[in-house]
């Protein structure tokens, strides 16, 4: 480790020549546009993946694919990922090949690099008859055809069995919808009403973005806005570099792994981070190559998320946010998979990769790095079928998150969405039961799931549901490959409990491990989803016994765990710490050795 540097004051070269007032006004106006597009989309969308899970992003990009502004809030792994789609579109059609009123759809994995449900819809923005930008909305459609509904694409074996590929398809040309194409899409996906409704909402949000951007250009003139954007990119970059300068120079590495899917070999996750002045390089070459199964994608998201969190987490997103970062992911890596590779679970590995990048920093900045969080995208509680009452298809769905790792100064957060999911929300029990023939029997915190430590890992969640009609359960635990590599502790903190699912067929009395990740369930069949807890920070024997007592009284940990993991013995009534017994127990060699 190199000695600490004094961060130098970074002065942005004034590239624009604009006065600071105009610049500040435009700085505030650009994020407002992508934010307004986001609100519009969320409020009018048809599927809970958008209105509840916020599995979408809204953005303005320039004609070279530079990110002018992007919404912040929902799913964070969409961070700055649209440039490649726009560049591809411009390469295909040429700047002259776009016309006012064109609407394009794209999800092709060779470029879009994500699971096919993430449908990019974009429109060219014209100002005074000149193409000036693109308004873009990427959103998770409930279904895109293929072998099964939903994003785990159960049973899929190649990209085509995952669903329909749209490769820069103009679904409207000069305001004229391609009715044949729309009809074709409708006929080849499940729940076409929802998808077409979402497409309408995506289009409306793009139209809104177009209007707002044109208003801004009208007001300040395209030249001023253009110069402001360039300046804002430079300033954002400088801000991020300044944050990196505060980190000690050095090369930091960490290795973790994910379990193989379907019993195959595991995936290595390796992060090598180099900090040199204001430059950061995140090298993910050490992660496994692409292979069969859905853990493939083409994405910088893990590196971007980790970098953003360390630099300017609350600042708006634009192209400058990652100019100070170099990401190395070679072609053929699981995160830079060549077509044709399955991508149904493209984002599944990302929370672990982010955690691993963070772990690499643990020695360099021990006061800032927490233990691992649940490390997956949570458990997707899902049950689908046909509702005999309404005669319509239904999907009951909720994302149930896990615990976060403990911090150097406090316990981890219970039941919080992963690093990739931001403002994603679970579905209320009452919403699920109002809309679908499912009963949620219980939703509770999972006792003892948080890793023990001087600061305790956050708790996972237990969700227990019963089918009221025949349908299909998702029985995937949502562990996301984190079974044999549970959420780790730091500095002698213990690991969190791993995720699991349990199932019970109608009429049976005992729960057991599900036989497959998707199961047909009869009325009365039940499923329990248990999400992982976060890792602990520091030696649990150093945890204040009063806090251990409080955890027992609140039911966050059991009295057994207090004794076995924390070495804290309570009085027989459980109302106080038995100080003498605790002192004795905490010095026992076998407990000391248990670490």
């Amino acid at each position: 480790m190199t000695p600490e540097k004094t961060p130098g004051k970074t002065i942005v070269q004034k590239v624009s020549g604009l006065d600071p007032v105009t610049l500040e006004v435009i700085r505030n106006s650009l994020p407002a546009i992508s934010h307004e597009m986001s609100v519009d989309l969320q409020r009018t969308s048809y599927n809970m993946m958008i209105y509840e899970v916020q599995d979408y992003c809204t953005a303005l990009l320039d004609t070279e694919g530079g990110l002018i502004s992007q919404n912040i809030g929902g799913v964070s792994h969409f961070v700055a990922d649209l440039g490649v789609v726009i560049k591809d579109g411009v390469r295909r059609y040429g700047v002259e090949g776009f016309f006012p009123g064109d609407v394009l759809l794209h999800n092709h994995q060779a470029t879009a690099g994500q699971h096919l449900n993430n449908m990019v819809l974009y429109t060219p923005v014209f100002h005074r008859e000149k193409l000036v930008a693109f308004a873009v909305v990427r959103a998770h459609w409930v279904d895109v055809g293929g072998l099964s509904t939903g994003f785990s694409a159960a049973g899929a074996y190649d990209p085509w069995s995952e669903g329909l590929q749209f490769d820069q398809v103009k679904i409207y040309e000069k305001d004229v919808p391609d009715e044949k194409m729309i009809r074709f899409v409708r006929d080849n996906i499940r729940y076409p009403d929802a998808a077409m409704g979402d497409m309408r909402s995506q289009l409306a949000a793009c139209r809104l973005g177009e209007r707002r951007f044109v208003e801004l250009l009208d007001r300040y003139g395209p030249d001023v806005v253009q110069r402001a954007i360039v300046q804002l990119f430079a300033e954002t970059e400088a801000r991020c570099r300044a944050a990196v300068e505060k980190l000690p120079d050095g090369v930091y590495e960490a290795s973790t792994y994910l379990d193989g899917r379907g019993g195959g070999a595991g995936y290595d996750i390796h992060a090598k981070v180099t900090v040199s002045g204001g430059d950061m390089t995140i090298d993910l070459s050490g992660c496994s190559p692409q292979r069969e199964g859905g853990y493939n994608g083409r994405t910088y998201a893990a590196a971007y998320i980790a970098y953003k969190a360390l630099t300017a987490p609350l600042d708006p997103l634009n192209e400058g946010a990652f100019s100070g970062l170099k990401v190395i992911i070679p072609e053929g890596n699981m995160m830079m998979a060549r077509f044709p590779a399955m991508m149904s679970a493209w984002s599944g590995a990302l929370p672990t990769v982010v955690d691993t990048i963070w772990r690499a920093f643990a020695e360099a900045i021990p006061d800032r790095i927490p233990a691992a969080h649940s490390g997956s995208l949570g458990a997707t509680f899902s049950f689908s079928g046909n509702d005999p009452k309404s005669g319509r298809g239904f999907v009951a769905m909720s994302i149930e998150s896990g615990g976060w790792g403990a911090w150097p100064d406090r316990d981890g957060q219970d039941a919080s969405m992963s690093v990739c999911q931001g403002d994603v929300r679970n579905a209320p029990i009452e919403t699920i039961e109002l809309k679908t023939p499912v009963m949620v029997i219980e939703r509770r915190l999972r006792q003892d799931s948080g890793g023990a430590g001087q600061y305790r890992g956050g708790l996972g969640v237990v969700t227990h549901a019963r089918a009221l009609t025949r349908g299909r359960w998702n029985a995937n635990s949502g562990a996301g490959g984190r079974i044999t590599c549970p959420p780790w502790g730091l500095w002698n903190g213990h690991e969190g409990k791993i995720a699991r699912t349990l199932t019970k067929a109608a009429g049976e009395t005992e729960f057991s491990k599900p036989a497959s990740v998707a199961m047909v369930g009869d009325p009365g069949s039940e499923m329990i989803y248990e999400t992982a807890g976060g890792g602990g920070w520091g030696d649990p024997l150093k945890r204040d016994p009063e806090r251990v007592l409080r955890d027992v009284r609140e039911g966050y940990i059991s009295a057994d765990a207090a004794r076995e993991e924390y070495g804290v013995v309570l009085t027989t009534d459980g109302n106080a710490v038995d100080l003498a017994a605790t002192r004795a127990r905490r010095t026992q060699p076998q407990l000391q050795g248990a670490q």
Binding site: K9, I11, K14, P20, V21, E24, V25, N28, S29, A32, V39, D40, T44, S45, Y46, N47, Y51, I72, G73, S76, V79, G197, R200, A204, A242, I305, A309, P313, L314, P370, S390, E400, S401, Q413, D414, A415, M417, V419, Q421, G422, D423, V424, R425, N426, P428, I429, E430, T431, E433, L434, M439, V440, E442, R443, R444, L445, R553, E554, G555, Y556
Partner: protein
């Protein structure tokens, strides 16, 4: 009931000041007073203001009161030790919440801290289906157990929220009745008494919040009532609500969560009423104080209501599912500090100098240049005429601050730097005004902006120009406007019932019956508030959405259309609102009904301002050089005293019009006319 022709008093306790406005209907006389808020003993502010205004409580016929007491208890976390009773299996719903982290990249994000610990949360072994069918009955012995657990926990308040109690509240009601009988000293809140709407976490959070602030809020309201009675007050005492209506003290004691956002709301109600009287039914209310600016939209005379919000901030706050006047707030006030960040960018706020130390020009120790300082530098606020000359401002200090902290480092001239601060402030406030108008499908050109607060009139015309708003109204008493609004508020109570069904399958006879039931509850509330039958009315709204959507729109529905099962009329209204709000409507898509809402309104006698009197004094009191256009050359502008302008008087910009607690700035091309009742109506010139 309220007597016509009596003395109506409103007292608004805000964060810094307590304001009183009194109106004597017989003489037409308006009285106002202001005192410093007394946080340790909030209600004292009521008497301080009454004393200052020379009003004896016994002479008042009605007193309306708004207070920060409820929100303070919540924000400072000084509420009651609260217990929570929930359906078996949902003990942790309140702690788990929605699991979201709105600050997506902020890994240190903290979710809201529950107001009830898990160890004081108890489960009742009962269960309803979403349709309200009893799946597991509530047994007497279980109720006994719960009562014992609550008693043993030492809780001073208890919240009860069962799954699907919106569909059938019988279980909640039973537990509630037994708790109230067994534990008379414990404050009991039942979710269905507050809100009968689905989404258990938000409903639980609302119920817990009510219980948590309940005992102290109840005590507060009771104390004021007692003291007023002790002082011989025999009129009607009412409490201001977040929804813009007033309620009886008895309702407030049961529903303190309804009084959380009273102050700013009063201003919006007054904006609607003043606008209506002047013939403007579409109004954007705009209030700018020391720390923030707030704005809200009034369309066709109706204030916008949101059906939920967060206490303690959107990201980490507690959700409250209760109607509130929909106000967008932005961190730009007179005290907002302008600064240069380490990258040379000029920034405004969110730090505010507040009232202490305040702007540099206040001479109270402030050293950072603020919006107010910029206005002084530019000559827009008169250094010698502030507060009628009672508080001479330090123009030299302001100049040194703006020049030294901003102008020098940015290599900008003094006027340019000061003007830059205002431009950024105005752009920020314009974004907020856009948030309530353009972003919701309303065209600002069809609205008048009504500006209040000490700093509102200074900036209003500039914002109006920015957004092409054609008219700006500066009402009487712009700095006392919240209290004035409280005098103008009607009695109001909101009721909601979840009724989830495709619109085409909705049983309108059943909806009619729900309406009758909710209206009957409203009737009782209006009885208790002493509203005479002729002044009562009931509004109906359906929460509707396309089948498959989650967010519903509140669609006003005529009762006749409910009675006549007029699905088409309901549908047409929804399509119209959806189209305006989102720019598209799918007229062939089926709709579903989610909730039915009934709003009971009891009209209160309206105060009316006397005609503005002509004065013999010359209104133009002088002139001074003012920077209005961002250049280094000031323009010699006329200065007027508002008090001396009589009805019908016309003043053309560029000029400033000063009054006791505010200043209005007019630019070239603006024309101000004084309305018969004294409001200043400004036709905004073209840019």
């Amino acid at each position: 009931m309220d007597r016509q022709g009596g003395l109506s008093v409103a007292v608004d306790i805000g964060g810094t000041f307590t304001d009183l406005v009194a109106f004597d209907q017989t003489t037409g006389q308006v009285n106002q007073s202001k005192s410093l808020t007394t946080p340790a003993e909030l209600s004292q502010g009521v008497w301080d203001c009454l004393d200052k205004a020379g009003i004896a409580p016994k002479d008042a016929d009605s007193i309306v009161h708004g207070s920060t007491v409820a929100i303070n208890i919540a924000i400072e976390e000084k509420g009651a030790e609260t217990a929570l009773v929930v359906t078996r299996g949902t003990r942790d719903v309140y702690k788990i919440g929605r699991q979201n982290r709105p600050e997506a990249y902020n890994f240190s994000f903290r979710r809201p801290t529950p107001l009830v610990p898990r160890s004081r949360t108890f489960e009742a072994d009962e269960r309803l289906s979403a349709g309200g069918e009893v799946l597991r009955p509530l047994r007497t012995e279980d109720i006994e157990e719960i009562i014992e657990a609550v008693r043993a926990s030492g809780a001073q308040a208890v919240a009860v929220c069962f799954l699907h109690s919106y569909a059938d509240p019988a279980h909640e009601a039973e537990v509630g009745a037994r708790l109230r009988a067994a534990l008379p000293d414990v404050y009991v809140t039942l979710s269905h008494e507050i809100v009968r709407e689905y989404r258990e976490y938000e409903r639980t959070s609302t119920t817990v919040m009510n219980a948590y602030i309940g005992p102290r809020s109840k005590e507060y309201v009771g104390q004021i009532e007692d003291r007023l009675i002790g002082d011989g007050f025999t009129g009607r005492f009412m409490i201001m609500q977040s929804s813009g209506g007033v309620m009886s003290p008895d309702t407030a004691k049961m529903l303190p969560v309804a009084m959380m956002e009273s102050g700013p709301v009063g201003g919006v109600i007054a904006a609607a009423e003043v606008g209506r009287r002047l013939g403007f039914n579409n109004v954007i209310a705009f209030d700018m104080g020391g720390t923030t600016a707030k704005t809200s939209l009034i369309e066709a005379g109706e204030v916008s209501i949101a059906q939920g919000y967060h206490i303690g901030g959107e990201a980490s706050g507690h959700p409250v599912m209760f109607p509130v006047v929909d106000i967008v707030e932005v961190g730009a006030g007179g005290g907002s500090i302008a600064w240069i960040d380490e990258f040379g960018a000029l920034k405004l706020g969110p730090q505010s100098a507040g009232s202490v130390p305040g702007p540099i020009c206040y001479r109270r120790g402030g050293t950072e240049p603020t919006v107010t300082d910029a206005n002084v530098v530019l000559g827009r606020i008169g250094a010698t005429s502030f507060l009628g000359g009672e508080m001479p401002l330090d123009a030299e200090g302001a100049t040194a601050g703006v020049a030294g902290r901003l102008g020098g480092p940015l290599a900008m001239s003094l006027p340019r730097a000061a003007h830059g601060v205002l431009e950024i402030a105005i752009a920020k406030m314009s974004l907020a005004v856009r948030g309530v108008s353009v972003e919701r499908g309303y065209d600002p050109r069809e609205f008048a902006m009504l500006a209040t607060g000490g700093a509102g009139p200074v900036h209003a015309v500039a914002i109006a120009r920015d957004l092409h708003i054609p008219t700006v109204i500066i009402p009487n008493l712009p700095a006392h406007f919240s209290a004035l609004g409280m005098l103008m508020s009607d009695v109001r109570q909101d009721y909601v019932r979840t009724y989830y069904r495709p619109l085409l399958q909705a049983d309108f006879a059943e909806l009619s019956a729900i309406y009758d039931e909710l209206a009957a509850v409203g009737e009782k509330t209006l009885d208790a508030a002493g509203v005479v039958p002729a002044l009562r009315s009931y509004q109906v709204q359906f929460d509707l959405r396309y089948v498959g959507q989650e967010f519903a729109l509140q669609v006003p529905v005529a009762l006749d259309d409910v009675r006549r099962s007029s699905v088409e009329a309901v549908r047409a209204k929804f399509d119209e609102i959806h189209n305006r709000r989102f720019g598209h409507a799918a007229v062939d898509e089926p709709l579903e009904l989610v909730n039915i809402r009934v709003i009971a309104v009891g009209e209160r006698p309206k105060i009316s301002f006397p005609d503005a009197r002509a004065t013999a004094d010359e209104a133009r009191v002088g002139s001074r050089p003012i920077h209005l256009d961002g250049t280094d050359t000031p323009i010699e502008c006329a200065v007027y005293r508002r008090e001396r302008l009589s009805a019908g008087a016309e003043v053309r910009g560029p000029c400033v019009i000063e009054e006791y607690a505010s200043t209005t700035v007019l630019f070239e091309g603006d024309v101000m006319t004084v309305a018969a009742t004294g409001e200043m109506i400004i036709q905004v010139g073209q840019q």
